[in-house]
Amino acid sequence: MITDRIAVDIKVPNQTRYLCLIGHIGENIALTLRNYSGDRKKLAYDLNLVLTEAMANAIKHANEGDPAKEVHIEISIVDQRLIIRVFDFGQGFDVKQYVEPRHPLEEHGRGIYLMHTIMDEISYRPTDSGHVLEMCKNL
């Protein structure tokens, strides 16, 4: 059986106008996968969503909205395991604070909860120059 082996490495300015570009890459990966027996349209939406949420978090909470900074994103699939890494270059944020579902009338804080719900594993740790949010999903 031929398996998918994909590696995407992209750097974009720290601006929300690029959310759409990054989300579409995730969506297109889901639609292009050779071996996926689940609901492909749902996977496409989910990857669009987790990439959009992770990048929006990096822009707002980690890179402090500085448009001169950039967000670095890696997407890889090896042996039916999808790994997304979003690198930021700022102070970071407390990921544990947001893992529980929010009260329905809260305006903020749903992004991390959604990422937790969709992905199998999620971690956020410091790097030499900032932080990396890593998410994994078994396909």
């Binding site: 929300t16 759409c20 939406y45 929006a56 329905p104 305006e107």
Partner: protein, 113 residues
């Protein structure tokens, strides 16, 4: 953001004409709704028929509008949710907060009862 606003008498109809409602444009929707509230227009129907993707900040903007409308004795109702957008409301339990209608005609009619 591309937003078509129309006074329908019983309520204001806001048709979001964007493929995505996300952190890039949700602030615009929130501000447009605030403007309407300041003008005393507290009953809103947000038509999402053309929107195929909503993220957490899009949901947040709608929650903000809902809370503002409620606090002014009005209401914010939703119409035309695509299947996957509707799933987002279910996943975050927001389908229990909003009145959700198949289309804007039904949502507007509910304000006239």
């Amino acid at each position: 953001m591309n937003l078509h606003i129309e006074d329908k008498g019983a309520a204001m109809l806001l048709a979001v004409q964007e493929e995505r409602l996300d952190a890039h444009n949700s602030g615009d929707l929130k501000n447009q709704m605030l403007k309407l509230f300041e003008e005393g227009k507290n009953n809103l129907v947000v038509d999402l028929q053309g929107v195929r993707f909503v993220d957490s900040s899009g949901l947040g903007a709608l929650v903000s509008g809902f809370k503002n409308a409620s606090s002014r004795n009005g209401n914010l109702k939703l119409a035309g949710l695509q299947l996957q957008v509707k799933s987002m409301f279910e996943l975050t339990r927001l389908h229990r907060v909003f009145e959700i209608y198949t289309d804007s005609t039904e949502a507007l009619a509910s304000f006239q009862q």
